[in-house]
């Protein structure tokens, strides 16, 4: 017993040691962005030459871009030269036990039902080696390997599976797509890579086991998911626990490729720190998420629950290339206090008989601004394609705003495009009805909001759904009275 404890201790020490192999000065780059910074990132990550070249092209393109101003968002311009573009992953715990952690934060974790060991990791407390996420990771990875599924960090993929990365990275979101994709390509530090081989159905929801590992890959995240012919995968991103990050500006890119007959489900719960009541200190979250239904009969399903961030700029989109391909986007976006969200989806139909559906539920509270922005684009080739868009807004209080910007372009007359939109307020008589049945006002509002969002919540994978429901309730706290 004692002997094994010793070994465990040694292992643990080793693990923390490993975090300090690079010298201290290199742990974090000084602020600023230029070609040298990009070369250095690429060097630390031991990337091949072609990869560096690609990053540099992206950087040169980025230099010529300006931040777009079409979004319904109001914020100070971002000073890109004031940001540091690389920090080595830190393994040093900030605290020795949970007793040292902000009790309010712990209370939130508890109410979300997050297991104790995960709470520790989230809060930055030293953990027992018994719950070593890397070892869980390895056993799990072996299971997947048997099926030929590749699930690893992007850095590892660049080294171990260069042929797949080279073929697909940037194929759905080229660096030249926009300023965010250019910046991300130039400087991203890490992210996730998934490959599901032909005919394989992933037996588990990917990344649910790794929500902890996903944290701190942070600021410039890059994800690539490839589903080969006849395969299936469900991928979960994010975490219901409130996440703090010293970096105010986030710019992520997610690319999904679905080949013939493949199906990808991508679910997100985003709860980045939204800032305080006055709107100070929250995360600016700029994300480019795009999937390509490349093969015939392929499917991509997006589900997102967005409650965090001071600024959200995010439009998960699908290019429906293959004939008979299908894509759906289900979203709940909650904004409270001073939060601003401009989010929605783009469905771009190229293939014949393609179908898409957008269901967006926006909930605005406090002085927040919640915008839906969507594009349905039916190209000339998209015979008999169909889109249905439903866009509902719920207002709580009278100082917030809900806005919808639906854009529709139809170049093929055989297509059917439907759009429905509603804006409602929670009515006094609904709240009173609930109160008369014993619910206080806050519970009543939470119940009504959950009802409003139900269609979307029902699309979440089971294990995510219960947490997401509680997250909604917690987000609403203090929004009434």
């Amino acid at each position: 017993m004692d002997e094994s404890k010793k070994i465990i201790n040694q292992l643990q020490d080793k693990k923390y040691d490993a975090g300090f192999t690079t010298n201290i000065e290199q742990d974090i780059f000084p602020p600023g962005l230029n070609e040298d910074v990009i070369r250095k990132i690429s060097e630390i990550k031991e990337e091949p030459e072609w990869f560096l070249e690609w990053r540099l092209k992206a950087f040169r393109f980025w230099q010529k871009q300006k931040m777009p101003n079409w979004a319904h968002l109001d914020f100070e311009p971002i000073d890109f030269q004031a940001i540091s573009y690389y920090a080595a992953p830190k393994n040093t715990p900030k605290y020795n036990s949970l007793d040292e952690v902000d009790p309010e934060l712990l209370d939130t974790y508890k109410r979300l039902g997050i297991p104790l060991e995960e709470q520790k990791i989230l809060a930055g407390v030293a953990v027992d080696v018994v719950f070593d996420s890397t070892s869980v990771h390895t056993t799990f990875k072996k299971e997947l390997e048997k099926l030929g599924i590749i699930f690893c960090s992007m850095s590892e993929a660049i080294k171990e599976h260069p042929e797949l990365v080279k073929k697909y990275i940037g194929s759905v979101v080229p660096y030249s797509d926009n300023i965010i994709s250019a910046l991300n390509t130039a400087v991203f530090s890490d992210g996730s890579f998934v490959y599901i081989p032909k005919g394989v159905r992933s037996p588990v929801e990917l990344s649910s086991y790794f929500r902890i590992n996903a944290i701190n890959t942070g600021q410039f995240e890059r994800t690539l998911i490839i589903a080969d012919e006849d395969s299936y995968v469900s991928y979960l991103e994010g975490c219901t626990a409130p996440q703090r990050d010293e970096n105010q500006f986030h710019a992520a890119v997610v690319e999904i490729v679905a080949l013939k007959n493949a199906e990808v489900k991508y679910s997100t719960v985003q709860n980045w720190y939204p800032g305080n009541k006055e709107g100070k200190g929250g995360i600016y979250n700029f994300v480019v998420k795009r999937g390509m239904c490349k093969g015939d009969y392929s499917k991509i399903f997006w589900t997102q629950v967005e409650t965090g961030s001071a600024i959200t700029w995010k439009y998960p989109s699908t290019l429906l290339m293959g004939d008979n391909s299908i894509s759906e986007f289900y979203s709940v976006a909650v904004t409270n206090n001073m939060q601003q969200a401009d989010t929605g989806s783009k469905m771009i139909h190229f293939g014949k008989n393609t179908r898409s559906r957008i269901v967006s539920k926006g909930i605005s509270i406090g002085k927040s601004q919640n915008s839906y922005r969507g594009l349905v684009d039916i190209k000339k080739t998209a015979e008999n394609s169909r889109n249905y868009t439903q866009c509902d807004s719920l207002l709580i209080g009278d100082k917030c705003g809900a806005h919808t910007f639906p854009y529709i372009n139809v170049d093929n007359q055989t297509a059917t495009v439907e759009h429905e939109a509603t804006t409602t307020k929670i009515a006094e008589d609904q709240i009173f009805y609930c109160q008369q049945r014993g619910l206080d006002e806050e519970k009543a509002v939470a119940l009504i909001v959950n009802g409003f969002a139900r269609e979307v919540m029902a699309k979440l994978p089971m294990e995510f759904a219960a947490e997401a429901k509680k997250l909604l309730e917690i987000t609403l706290e203090g929004s009434v009275g």
Partner: protein, 253 residues
């Protein structure tokens, strides 16, 4: 159970209740009748604690407690139930979920543990049977797209679940066909015992054939102007309200 003394209430500075006095004891059924606009729904809303009505005078004791010291949800948890004349829709919230939430709030208030899922299902079965509730409705959203009769039956199901001390039924019989009426009345009769009380607001004698009241009161212009036993309801059915209005006018002159 309930003691109402000289109750006055206004909405938008308009006085609607002008001195209601009423005593309700355990085990009693009271019927309240009266022309449209006389203040019957206002009385039930004031008792339930709806904020848009202002109580300007008078007091109400509910089981010895000052009713106006309690928030609407506390009144509900203490056992005051209102079956609404116009039940509202709550889109996306299933009846099962709604019942469970309401029941848990009450149990918490009484210091009871949450019910296990199997206990809850058992209770659900029993109560549905008691009020002949159609199982097809239970997973639908509360009142959303329900017919008038379905809404009223849903109110009675909730009443059966929450097992109130005092239940006020505001025109639960309006718009019901004869079968639905019998179901609603049977539900009330099965729930009735010597410890709880019912206030039945209605325009029609036919409900009172099934739910036999101990007392009948007539509300006119925000006051109870006449009280009697069940025969008063028969008399009203026959003669309408005009003779009461006349009586009141004569008194005032």
């Amino acid at each position: 159970m309930l003691k109402i003394r000289n109750l006055h209430a206004t909405i938008e500075n308009k006085e609607i209740l002008r001195g209601i006095n009423l005593d309700i004891n355990h085990g009693e059924v009271h019927a309240i009748m009266g022309p449209n606009g006389s203040g019957k729904s206002t009385l039930s809303a004031v008792l339930a604690g709806r904020e848009i009505y202002k109580v300007t005078k008078g007091e109400v004791l509910f089981d010895g407690k000052n009713l106006f010291d309690l928030s609407p949800e506390e009144r509900a948890r203490e056992g005051l139930f209102l079956a609404f004349q116009y039940p509202v829709e709550i889109p996306g919230v299933s009846i099962v979920n709604f019942l469970k939430t309401a029941l848990e709030e009450k149990r918490k208030h009484l210091g009871l543990e949450p019910m296990s899922p199997s206990e809850f299902l058992k209770m659900m079965r029993e109560k549905k049977e008691l009020v002949e509730f159609d199982s097809k409705l239970e997973n639908r959203a509360v009142n959303a797209g329900f017919s008038g009769g379905e809404k009223k039956k849903n109110e009675i199901l909730q009443m059966a679940f929450l097992d109130p001390k005092l239940a006020i039924l505001d025109e639960t019989d309006s718009g019901l066909d004869i079968d639905a009426l019998r179901i609603v009345a049977n539900g009330v009769n099965k729930l009735k015992n010597e410890n709880n009380s019912f206030v039945v607001i209605t325009h029609y004698q036919r409900l009172l054939d099934y739910i036999v009241p101990d007392f009948v009161h007539v509300v006119f212009n925000g006051r109870i102007v006449k009280s009697g036993d069940k025969n008063l309801a028969l008399e009203l059915e026959e003669k309408g309200y005009d003779w009461i209005k006349k009586e009141v006018d004569e008194l005032n002159n």
